[in-house]
Amino acid sequence: MSERLIAYLPLLASLMFASGILAPLLYKPFGKRLGLLLAVFPFLIFIVLLLLAPKLGSSSAIVTREFFSLAEGIDFSIRADGLSLTFGLMISGIGFFILLYSAFYMKKYERQGQFYLYLTLFMGAMTAMVFSDNLMALFIFWEITSITSFLLIGFDHHLEKPRQAALQSLLITALGGLTLLFAVILIGNIAGTYRISEIIDSGLKLGEHPQALLIFIFILIAVLTKSAQFPFHFWLPGAMQAPTPVSSYLHSATMVNAGIFLLLRVHPFIGDFYLWKGTLMVAGGITMFLGAFFSMGQTDLKRILAFTTISALGTMVMLIGIDTSHSIKAALVFFIVHAMYKGGLFMMAGIIDKSTGTRDITRLANLTRGLPLTTAATVLALISMAGLPPMLGFIGKELVYEAKVQLPGLSWLVLPLGVGANIMMVAISLTIFAELFYPSVRKQGVPFRHTEKEFPWYFPAGTIILAAAGLVLGLAPGLLDKIISNALLFSGNDDVRVKLSIWHGFNQVLLISVLTVVSGVVVFIFRHRVMPLISSLIRWFDRLFLPDVFAGAIKKYVEVAARSTERIQHGYHRFYLMTFFIVTMLLVAIQTFFSGMPVIETSGLSTLKLHILALLVVSSLAAVFAVFSGGRLTAIVAMGVVGYGVGLIYLFYGAVDLAITQFLAETILMVLFVMVMFKLPKFEKLSSRNSKLRDGIIALSAGAMVTLVVLNARFVNVFDPISSYYAAKSYVEAHGRNIVNVILVDFRALDTLGEITVLTLAAVGVYALFNIRVRQLKEKEKNQ
């Protein structure tokens, strides 16, 4: 039964991808209803998962065979355990509401087809990620979520801010993605498989492995970047530039929680690494506190929520870092809690934006009148966020406290941070409520443009139902017991007993809770003093802090790049040539150095005849003379001598054809030189003494290198060379006695064809170039 159910998952996910890709095309016929249509897919997935959940029990995972294999080791198969189900349910459930919500929210936007394309792809990738049983597949979907979220955040790309924010988030999350890739490859290399189920079943523990540090650092970077943890947290508030449906989806249940998911996924096999606890606790703790603290200083509703999101993520990371069964249980529950209230609150922000035209909490007031249902839902969500009964948030917070209290040794540090953060949460919840909904006479809010009645039912549905679900689960938390216990088992915990309840009796934890609430109320009462303080602090932070550091680093990098361009691509042609020769010589020199100086064998060489020696001397002298000659004509003549000398050498060694060609070509060249001589610019010495010296050294060493290499070359062929066969075959089969010619026109006719093509090309090139000049000259004459 469960096997059959799970078979629907890939089908649904691929349908989702397909419909996403088709979204731009579907937009034409369906128009505004496209969002409603697409919402069917996450809904179906949600139903399937919901049906699957009871089948799972508390200690079994369903792993399918791979149904599609990309390459050895990289295959797509489904792993459904408590962990993936927890995440999958949230992703598909909230995704469903988000699509409904967007159907109304996005209706005035252009390019809606693209929007749905990105959103559905993102949704599909997120779902596929949590259900992948293959680390490589997990990584692939992870990257797709980065890219699609970039496209979603930067959807309003004609504005500067969203563009900047999207770029920032992309570069940061892509960095994390690539380090994740590295970690995955390393893990796969050690484990011999990328399949998560095989790795877990084999009981592999990487903590003691020499590469554990590397793997852990890479995973850590991936998590910190994706989940917006300190010091990479700054991209998340920027990402609020996205359209509201995107923010509510990305920052409640998906995108940023991918890091949490990853940590839990790899916990079974690398959780025993000695840095795991400390690093995660520190990063998470700082993030938790900073996020909550900063949220008090904001006035934009979405930014407030963004900072509380950062804080919540920090809490989860820290809990995972504490690394006891209790803390991980707390993290899982807290994930559910957070996804539900945060999704609702973000959507609420969008609803308020739509109905009043602003999200500034200082300008909003008395919203209850126009938005009664939203108000009710928001109040529930805020209670959950503040961690008060009877919402699920209360249970989550209690568990968190419990985990912190029971932490051996470090609770003195962790607990105050956590309590501090929670005080802020209470305060901010109260603030939101008071500013937005509390019927006040003193504050005059902006008037409504639309009231709730004017919205279609599906617009506020998400906020309301999520809040209601939070209430139901808060009253009957036992519903979650099994699935969380299963998730605990597969994230590598020994103690998997889970019994959630809303009332734990009077204990230390409850005491702290009460203290928290009281302090929260105190902070709330003094908020008008506290908020400016915090916002000035934020401004101070902002000035020297990370977004600027990041932007500055990018700018600096581009500057450095531009400067190095000038240095490397300087435009001096002679230096390019010089580089070429010097590098070649260096390579040869290094090789000579390592393989020992070549022994030049003299035994195989024929004796040097006197007339050839004389020729060589004359040619060399002519070459030297050409270099040092004071005039152009003498240089040309000297070069001619060199050419004829080479021709003569050909002749003496029996290459008659070659010699004749060389002589004739040399003659024509001389004639050409003489012809253009008087048209050339004045003969001047432009090089300085030093550069001449330098060029001379390079030229001489290049010559020396070639000589050395040629002298060192030895004939290794033990067989007869082909030249003897040419001689033998030439007349018999090719009807010619002149071997050179026969080779040219018969044995190697293809070469010759190529050569004459090259010649033609060169000639046409010269012709074309000169023709431009001739035409210019003629025009000039005409003008005169």
Partner: protein, 503 residues
């Protein structure tokens, strides 16, 4: 099937010679001739690849049978690797040729353009097909000299200067190559690659062979634009008309640079650790410096040109890893993996960079400029160009599920398995840098606001230009199937086996 092999040279040569002659008759039809020819050749190469089943054909030009197993004529060898290269060359050639039809309309001397274009393709086809060193040199010259002319085709001052630099450096490189070939002939007494390989590998004393390889490396390294021999490329590739840039960056530096290096170093010489390390060092330099230099550019096409240097680094690095692994005697499977990654990346980069240059061409065609600082907001007026370039951007930056991701992934996995962690790390980091500078392109050209009133009337390019872009963008996505086992065996692994002679 044997007699089909020379068609790859004869068809483009014939087209090149016939176009200027019959141009006056009907210009409209003959503009399609190069594209048609390349389509035919791409299909033919595809067909042969499928029917060969990993075997190779040796075609003896002029029917000169070897005497005592010593070849006396020129041999053309069609093995899976060269067929794969043929597919790349002719496919990108087809797209560029189609794109040229509207693009080149504004230039004079269209007939010469198509003629030169076909010659360049003929040269590249010859280089990848030939089994003969000197013949390789000849075809190399055919293609590079055609490319010199094409770079200067606009005949403005910059273009001529770029072409001149390209010619001088290219000429020096050709000289190096020729010298190395002469040395090889002296050393082995033959210019046939297969024959020379037998002699070199059976012979003792590799001292000379190493020197020959060094010369070949610098020569072909210059043609492949590896840093520090890259100086000509940014000028040449950005000055050429865009479809030509697409050919130069997309296939020319691969066919006459990287392919030649792979073919000669793996199939002809005995492998040596020195060459492996040199390849790795040069490739790492290329990757890093190419990436950094690309980031600093404000000229769209120059940026692309530098990016080509950086991306070719990946290909050469994969080759270097394969060589080091083989020489060290590690598992040959790792070498095969690295080489597969390298070849796959070469294939992908052809498509991606071809597409990107066509995008740049479309932008230039529509707006008249390619300065990043002037452009902006083109996404709404050039939707097709913008969408395809976004696809190419993700692909080249290695974002799944685009093809560029998988090729880089394979290279990185191979590097890790070969225990060359630093190389893997560099490859990963350069991916981010690639993403960063292509995001710069996206941001300044397609996103943002329209900065100048003169772009208000910009319209999407004609269909002959957008069609190749769309097809290539789809290929960026679809080529990912190349790593699915069944497909991979036919395309990649056969080529790898042909190169590493693993049976």
């Amino acid at each position: 099937m044997d007699s089909l092999v020379p068609l790859f040279v004869i068809i483009p040569l014939g087209i090149a010679f016939i176009i200027p002659l019959i141009w006056q008759v009907t210009r409209g039809v003959f503009r399609f001739l190069p594209g048609a020819g390349m389509l035919a050749m791409a299909v033919l190469a595809f067909f042969m690849l499928f029917n060969l089943g990993g075997e190779s054909i040796v075609y003896k030009v002029g029917g000169w049978e070897p005497v005592n197993n010593i070849p006396i004529g020129i041999h053309l060898v069609a093995d899976p690797l060269s067929l794969m290269m043929l597919i790349i060359v002719n496919m990108i050639g087809l797209f560029a040729a189609l794109f040229s039809i509207p693009y080149i309309d504004k230039y004079t001397g269209e007939n010469y353009y198509y003629s030169l274009f076909s010659l360049m393709v003929a040269g590249m086809n010859g280089v990848v097909l030939t089994g003969d060193l000197f013949n390789m040199f000849v075809f190399l010259e055919v293609s590079v000299i055609a490319s010199y002319s094409l770079v200067a085709f606009g005949s403005s001052r910059d273009e001529l200067e770029a072409s001149f630099k390209y010619q001088v450096l290219g000429g020096i490189a050709s000289l190096m190559i020729l010298f190395a070939l002469a040395m090889t002939y002296w050393y082995t007494g033959t210019v046939n690659i297969a024959d020379a390989s037998e002699i070199i590998r059976s012979g003792t004393g590799t001292g000379t062979a190493i020197f020959i390889q060094l010369f070949l490396l610098t020569g072909f390294g210059l043609k492949a634009a590896m840093i520090p021999f890259h100086a000509w490329l940014p000028d040449a590739h950005s000055s050429a008309p865009s479809p030509v840039s697409a050919m130069l960056s997309g296939v020319l530096i691969k066919a006459i640079g990287a392919y030649a290096i792979l073919r000669l170093f793996f199939s002809m010489f005995s492998l040596s650790i020195e060459i492996g390390y040199i390849l790795i060092i040069l490739s790492v330099l290329s990757m890093i410096l190419g990436g950094i230099l690309a980031s600093g550019q404000w000229d769209y096409k120059r940026l692309l040109a530098y990016s080509s240097i950086s991306q070719m680094g990946y290909v050469i690095m994969a080759a270097g890893i394969a060589m080091v692994v083989l020489v060290r005697g590690q598992d040959a499977g790792i070498a095969a993996l690295a080489m597969a990654g390298g070849l796959f990346h070469m294939f992908n980069h052809s498509i991606i960079k071809g597409l990107l240059f066509l995008n740049a061409g479309a932008v230039e065609y529509a707006t008249g400029t390619r300065n990043l600082k002037e452009l902006g907001g083109l996404a709404s007026v050039l939707p097709i160009t913008s969408a395809t370039s976004l696809g190419a951007t993700f692909s080249i930056a290695g974002i799944p599920p685009f093809n560029g991701f998988f090729s880089k992934l394979i290279i990185i996995i191979a590097a890790v398995q070969a225990r060359l962690y630093l190389l893997a790390l560099i490859a990963v980091i350069m991916s981010i840098v690639t993403l960063a500078y292509f995001m710069k392109v996206q941001r300044h050209i397609f996103l943002d606001k329209v900065k100048s009133a003169r772009f208000a009337k910009v319209r999407e390019v004609p269909w002959l230009m957008s069609l190749p872009m769309v097809v290539m963008a789809i290929m960026c996505l679809v080529m990912s199937i190349m790593i699915i086992p069944g497909v991979r065996d036919t395309f990649l692994m056969d080529a790898v086996n042909a190169l590493l002679s693993i049976k």
